[in-house]
Subunit: 217 residues, 2 copies
């Protein structure tokens, strides 16, 4: 099954969760069918791109009709492995970490934050968003079955914790610290740098024509 999946372009793969959520919305609104044009307006992705994306999975739609919402939904559920849950740990229960814990990921997602870690004693033993908080010193004791970590710690602590996560066998890290962490090539790291995002937006505003539009990602 991976042979087929491996052929899907990365750009497409990044849009799948987005498609899935909107199709989910349509379904709960009771909508039965949808065209690439309609979907395009909702998710702000060119309709040709949507058709192309879908076509990597075969012929999901019908010419002259569009896509059956129910069918699309069940297809995406399978494809995104919605049934098989990925266990996630969150490191650093500050404001950003708390935001994540309170976000109801299970609603549409195949991921669950099983455990959170913090360095402050007064936090230990509490639950936030239903997730128990453990002490960062005990990281290694609670990492069984965890394959992904969300890193929302001060940037000075990032590399040290990353090293421990790698040691504990992590597969992927979502890094919200400004620090660019170094890990073995077998570990996938995605950086999301809030300050950079804001600064980049400002740069675009100042230097790019203000009347033709592309979109974020």
């Amino acid at each position: 099954m991976d042979i087929e999946n491996a052929k899907i372009p990365q750009a497409t793969a990044k849009r799948l969760p987005l498609y899935y959520r909107f199709i989910n919305n349509l379904h709960s609104q009771g909508k039965m069918r949808v065209s690439s044009k309609e979907l395009s307006e909702a998710v702000k992705v060119d309709s040709a791109t949507i058709r192309r994306d879908f076509s990597y999975f075969g012929a999901l739609g019908k010419k002259g009709y569009g896509y059956n919402v129910e069918y699309l939904l069940s297809f995406f559920r399978k494809t995104l492995d919605q049934d098989e849950t990925t266990s996630v740990a969150l490191i650093g229960v500050g404001n950003l970490g708390t935001a994540f814990l309170n976000y109801n990921f299970m609603k549409n997602n195949n991921t669950k934050i099983e455990v959170a870690f913090d360095a402050r004693d007064e936090r230990i033993g509490q639950k936030v968003g239903g997730v128990p908080i453990k002490h960062i010193d005990d990281l290694e004791k609670h990492m069984e079955g965890i394959s992904v970590a969300i890193l929302t710690v001060p940037s000075s602590a990032a590399q040290g914790i990353a090293d421990r996560l790698v040691e504990a066998g992590i597969s992927g890290v979502l890094n919200f610290t400004p620090a660019r962490i170094t890990v073995p090539s077998s570990v996938r790291v995605h950086h999301i740098d809030l300050a950079v995002e804001l600064q980049a937006l400002v740069y675009f505003l100042k230097h790019y024509p203000l009347d033709e539009e592309e979109d974020s990602q």
Copy 2:
């Protein structure tokens, strides 16, 4: 001056804030020179890409030597308009919003969050991270001189507030809600969807070979 700037690829523009921060770090460490190779290891961007990026601004380095940190720094300061501050409003003082307010943006940036808005009465009048909180009903009264908005509200409120921001003359929106907002083409919107980022990371882990590495953005 825009004629020159408009030629810079978007991918490059997105990396500029990142470069700027690391050059800043080097400078405060007292480093006098840096090569594209060194910088590459720090920011996790291919050294050829860095040289290419820099070359869009002319010849910033010296062959056989590298780049003078001080010169690079002053150049980037100019280029990123570090001197001219952009005023930002933050809408929605939840956990995520609070994280932003406590982030010291002025440290390295040309942006300042001047005002925050929330719908909960008990929040009004407080300050978070030095930023005063106003009631969302009074949005229009406090938007003078604000050109960018950070949207950290519940997604159900996103479009309504976006409409009001547009009415108030906003230029750019950093949208953290899962909702894809609709705005005139003269307004730039960047979406950052935390759930999608996490889900995309998981998807990559499951479906892409685990031993060759690219990087986030």
